[in-house]
Symmetry: C2
Subunit: 380 residues, 2 copies
């Protein structure tokens, strides 16, 4: 990057350590550190106790934060997943030793960037097409590194991934025969299952994903190719993958922060699945109260993603969410609840991952005071 060129102005930090939360500029992404640490410890101990052979590889697309990744690894995670090359670069630069890009790349520039990461950390990446294998092999050879490769199998997500065990075997053979590459196994992540509301629906979806992944892994092994890794799972389903006796890695991401949409999943309280806390909020200031029942605050579409529904006002009985525009949210106040102009409140985002990606900084607090300011690895 040419340092003489003008920079975006997004580097202004909205708070500094030691500042009371009430003085933080808004709209701002806040993370409750004690709650975050409890979520990290809870999942780590669940996996260690219930599925001792299964590795935890939390998804960094949720937080895009090397600081959060370090805490997950200190609690026992073997590394992280990333969804973008930019995230993987940030994690490698921070010293994360084992990174899975749980996604396909399809151009030579990104393959070169991945090869550079593979010179620093153990790097694996997914494929579902022979052209991706060729790009990765060329980049690995040019850089003199080894890239680990997983075949993505579509186990119900209906997005990327090969659709048959035969196709998985063919790609595995191609990887094995490609210089610079090592075949690691299968990515078998079922994204659509994460937000099925009923535990029984999620369980059935993961049972089918497990059946498909087991069949593909079996055919790959029958072809004489080792298939050590089966990776997948998310915050909504990990208990089922952990109990599958097939999956070797869990990719849960949202559990560190949680959001209003995950909170709508029904839980099976008999199943003893960890209950994660809401650690992420958007701090916003009331800028207008034009009517006795209407307040307007300064967090809108540009400060939080509404793709999975509006933010929750669960912390404020007496307030309803009435709509968002670019830089505003409208709130309906039920008497005797009355917000004042200048008052700051916390919104719980509908969907944590894309909300985090709108912010450059995570403001970390202990409930009353800012304790750290962490950068977000935005961009691709």
């Amino acid at each position: 990057m040419n340092a003489l060129l003008p920079l975006p102005r997004s580097l202004r930090r909205p708070a500094e350590p030691g500042m009371p939360i009430a003085e933080v500029e808004t709209p701002t992404l806040l993370v409750d550190l004690p709650a975050l640490d409890r979520n990290i410890a809870l999942l780590a101990s669940y996996v260690q106790n219930r599925a001792p052979g299964v590795r935890l590889r939390p998804h960094a697309k949720t937080h895009k934060s090397p600081d959060v990744a370090r805490r997950q690894i200190a609690a026992g995670a073997i590394g992280v997943c990333c969804q973008t090359v930019g995230e993987a670069e940030a994690m490698a630069a921070a010293g994360v030793a084992d990174i899975l890009l749980s996604n396909q790349i399809a151009d030579a520039g990104k393959a070169r960037r991945l090869a550079a990461i593979a010179g620093q950390s153990r790097l694996s990446v997914c494929v579902d097409d022979p052209s991706q294998v060729a790009l990765l092999s060329d980049a690995a050879m040019a850089a003199g590194v080894t890239i680990h490769v997983l075949v993505e199998l579509d186990v119900g997500g209906a997005r990327c991934g090969v659709l048959s065990a035969d196709a998985a075997v063919a790609l595995a053979r191609l990887i094995v025969g490609s210089p610079g590459l090592v075949f690691d196994g299968l990515q078998a992540y079922h994204g659509r299952a994460q937000h099925l509301r009923k535990p029984s629906e999620r369980q059935a979806a993961i049972a089918e994903a497990t059946r498909l992944a087991a069949a593909a892994a079996g055919q790959i092994r029958d072809a004489g190719i080792a298939c050590p890794t089966i990776t997948g799972a998310g915050t909504g389903t990990f208990a089922f993958e952990a109990a599958s006796a097939l999956y070797t890695e869990l990719q849960c991401g949202s559990y560190v922060f949680m959001d209003a949409d995950y909170a709508r999943n029904e839980r099976d309280d008999g199943a003893d699945v960890p209950h994660f806390e809401q650690a992420l909020t958007i701090l916003t200031t009331v800028i207008s109260t034009p009517l006795p029942d209407r307040a307007v605050c300064d967090a809108g579409l540009k400060a939080m993603s509404l793709d999975s529904g509006p933010p929750s006002l669960q912390l404020y009985p007496g307030l309803d969410y009435a709509g968002a525009s670019d830089e505003h949210s409208k709130l309906t106040m039920h008497s005797p609840f009355a917000l004042q102009v200048g008052q700051k409140i916390h919104l719980v985002p509908g969907h944590c991952d894309p909300t985090v990606a709108m912010h450059d900084w995570i403001i970390v607090h202990d409930g009353s005071t800012v304790t750290a300011v962490w950068p977000v690895a935005r961009g691709w």
Copy 2:
């Protein structure tokens, strides 16, 4: 900002001038500069010809770009509107001489930042509550500057703004009596009218807004207070405000870029209103084609806002948009249309403003080659 602290990694530029578009890393925000310049010239000449006394003050919340603002001002705009203090700081730093923050601020920190801007540029800001007036007066006095203040009137937007002419008069009196402040007039922007589909609906909404604003301005003048400015209008309605003989300023923003949602507005071709071109696209790479009719590309919820509907594939007959996730869009291909892995295509965002706010850089091109890289003033 402490330069020793780690920075977000969002400063990586996805392209450099001279690069062919086909080599630009994705997902990336692209602007067609000839189309942008035609849009800027078209609105400027319309206003100069049809409403010669009316000032054009384009809204910078659309582009967050001092580079775009400079081109608008060179074409005759008197300055810009901003929606956030961060945007206003970026515009002032770039030398924009006249800035309206078309929004309320409600904390002392932001008031101090506004006062600092008022030391560089002519700065005006909206209020709808006495507490905001007190904050602004204190900050202006402390900094030894003058801040210009408009009373926002709710003319149908049902968001911020006072709801009666009496309340507008009371606030105008308060501003006139507050040291460091100058009363400029009324903000009478009707946001909800911009996306009413039929020209007749938009015309009726602006007729009512004009009636309300005229009544409030009349009462303010009857109270012996000058009310020189009536500011409002957007890309969907500006022809009506321009013809109102009341509005003195037009705030159109989206016209520079356009989007799929504005393209759904019906036009009244008899009215000779300018037809703006689509200048903004998201460049995305096809990363997977797992089925003959399914392609997956690398621009998802984190690269474009879906709040006003999905992106348009108007440039590609034979492709339908089938859904977004965080970092992916699924496309349905109708035979014989067939995308290849690695191919790059342009999506037209559903809503330009929040899409731009997700990106750190605007990649400017001439249809085939990158000609400039402009920073986006993200953050608040």
